[in-house]
């Protein structure tokens, strides 16, 4: 029972922070940057592992966030030197991910970090990977990390909601209003990196992307208002977590994979049925209009 509880709590925390950030990624047309960041944090984690000699959460957070920001910086640098944006993303994230994989494989004996876990996560084992502080067992480490990430996301979004909204909608206007657009850009990217690394162990590198983009895209089809979109996105994320966990239990499959697949199913349903932007309804309305 308690194992279920911790797994679900981890998944819910993860999907909440991913859902919030994902909305801004979608609106800023940076969905693939999110993809790039979530891959690029791997070398950060690996290096932090090497330096700290173990799963030190703080070192991993710092290392991964730095690498995430570095990847964003490199992508922008390539872009400004005339490389297409798609191609810049492709070059940087694969290169950084390759570095990460190489570090991990070369130190396989020293590092207790296995590649399968990097990709798929090990959410089933969160409960046993606890954080000991001053000799007392404080509960699963992932929950602490994700809780911290979610708190940071919520606090920063609440403090700077207006600024984030405006920079997402019209960066030029935001700059003209005196909002430090670049600061908020890197703040968002930093938050994405932090969330990626916190989610890393539970759902794995590739599935973080799914949780960043898919629930937010689902919410985007439900509403036209940013506030509601954030809410719906979190709800869609949490629903995917709970249903996905159930599906994984029934089919005896990867929990991370099931959660993302469920999120995808929710998206497809929305895509077809949403009252405002749903495909079927629009088709039906057109037919009525034509008749």
């Amino acid at each position: 029972m308690s194992s279920d509880f911790w797994i679900l709590l981890t998944a819910i925390l993860m999907s909440a922070s991913c859902g919030l950030l994902g909305c801004f990624l979608i609106l800023r047309k940076m969905a693939l940057i999110g993809d790039a960041i979530s891959h690029a944090v791997l070398p950060g984690i690996a290096i932090a592992f090497l330096f700290s000699g173990g799963r030190d959460s703080v070192a991993m957070m710092i290392g991964a966030t730095l690498l995430g920001l570095l990847s964003v910086f490199l992508i922008q640098w390539l872009r400004s030197s005339g490389v297409q944006s798609d191609a810049s993303i492709g070059i940087i994230f694969t290169a950084l991910f390759a570095v990460g994989v190489i570090i991990v494989s070369l130190n396989a004996r020293n590092i207790d970090l296995d590649l399968d876990c990097v990709l798929f996560g090990e959410i089933a084992y969160v409960q046993w990977d606890t954080w000991t502080w001053n000799g007392t067992d404080m509960g699963p480490r992932s929950v602490w990390m994700l809780g911290f990430a979610l708190m940071a996301v919520v606090i920063l979004l609440m403090l700077f909601y207006k600024q984030f909204k405006l920079t997402a909608f019209d960066p030029a206007l935001a700059a003209a209003c005196g909002i430090p657009v670049m600061l908020f850009h890197y703040m968002l990217m930093g938050l994405v990196s932090m969330t990626s690394v916190a989610s890393f162990e539970s759902v794995g590198a590739i599935l973080v992307v799914g949780m960043l983009i898919i629930p937010a895209a689902t919410a985007y089809l439900w509403t036209d208002r940013l506030g509601m979109m954030l809410l719906y996105s979190v709800v869609a994320g949490i629903a995917s977590s709970v249903l996905g966990y159930g599906a994984a239990y029934v089919w005896n499959a990867s929990i991370g994979g099931s959660i993302v697949t469920t999120a995808g199913v929710l998206f497809v349903l929305t895509f077809l049925l949403s009252p405002r932007h749903g495909l079927l309804l629009r088709k039906w309305r057109q037919r009525r209009l034509a008749a």
């Binding site: 979608i26 047309k29 940076m30 969905a31 693939l32 999110g34 993809d35 891959h39 390539l78 030197s81 005339g82 490389v83 297409q84 798609d86 191609a87 993303i89 492709g90 070059i91 694969t94 290169a95 991910f97 390759a98 570095v99 994989v101 190489i102 494989s105 070369l106 396989a108 590649l115 399968d116 990709l119 798929f120 794995g204 590739i206 599935l207 992307v209 799914g210 960043l212 983009i213 898919i214 895209a217 985007y220 089809l221 994984a248 089919w251 005896n252 499959a253 990867s254 991370g256 994979g257 099931s258 959660i259 993302v260 697949t261 999120a263 995808g264 998206f267 895509f271 932007h277 495909l279």
Partner: protein
Amino acid sequence: MDALWMIWTDPNMRWIVAGCMLLGLSSGLIGSYMLLQKRSLIGDALAHAALPGICIAFMLTGVKSTVGFLLGALIAGAIATFGIRWIAAHSRIKQDAAMGIVLSLFFGIGVMLLTRIQHSGDGGQSGLDKFLFGQAASMMREDVYMLAGISSLLLLLCLLLYKPFKLISFDAGFARGLGWPVARLEQLMLLLTVLVVVAGIQAVGVVLMSALLITPAVAARYWTDKLSVMLLLAGIFGACSGFSGTFWSSMVTGLPTGPVTVLSATIVFAVSALLAPQRGWVGKSLRQRRARQQWQQGGTAHE
């Protein structure tokens, strides 16, 4: 030197090196066209989408058969590209987000199926996770034959259809105006990409396959303004990366082929971006500095 000699004498090694070089060559070629059509990341989506296709093929046949995997990946890739286009065309969601959705959804399904296969404890499943990062050493003679076949097909088509591929990449509207079957040709290019991606997954893996399509092509673009030269260079860069990847991964135990290949390609890219005479960073800044100096000298001379 000894190592190189070993590769030359060990027949198994020779096959694998040849396969990886062919793979690099073909992906450099077709990747250049994808780059010029602004579809760089489609390779990434295709590679990720291939995973559930491969898993389903395995579940249906129960054996690791290259042809079955190819077929499964091909179908999954077709569904994925169709899905991306469908979402972008029929909703307010933009192309990039559509790609992210399809990519992660397919990969999620793939991971689900993969774990299911693993949990079911099927005897032949051990090789499947090699698809994630690639292990060239696991390539069989049969796989190299397939790679050789795909590469020759690709080379032949690229030679035959050089002119239409070029025109479509530059100005598809004009080509359509000429009455050329642009949609068909575009599908053909996409099909070739899927073939290369699927063939490459064994060597470099799902996650990093897109790099072989993108990085050599971008690197080649730095050196030339001619498409034919760019294609040639991209092919060579890809082949070199393939060689270096297999070489180092065979030298150092535990080093997977894919990441080393990708890193080699990235190094070629970095060197190109810095040192290429016209477009490279060093050349550009030198020219800029010289221009500034000349301007300043000219300015003071006038005063």
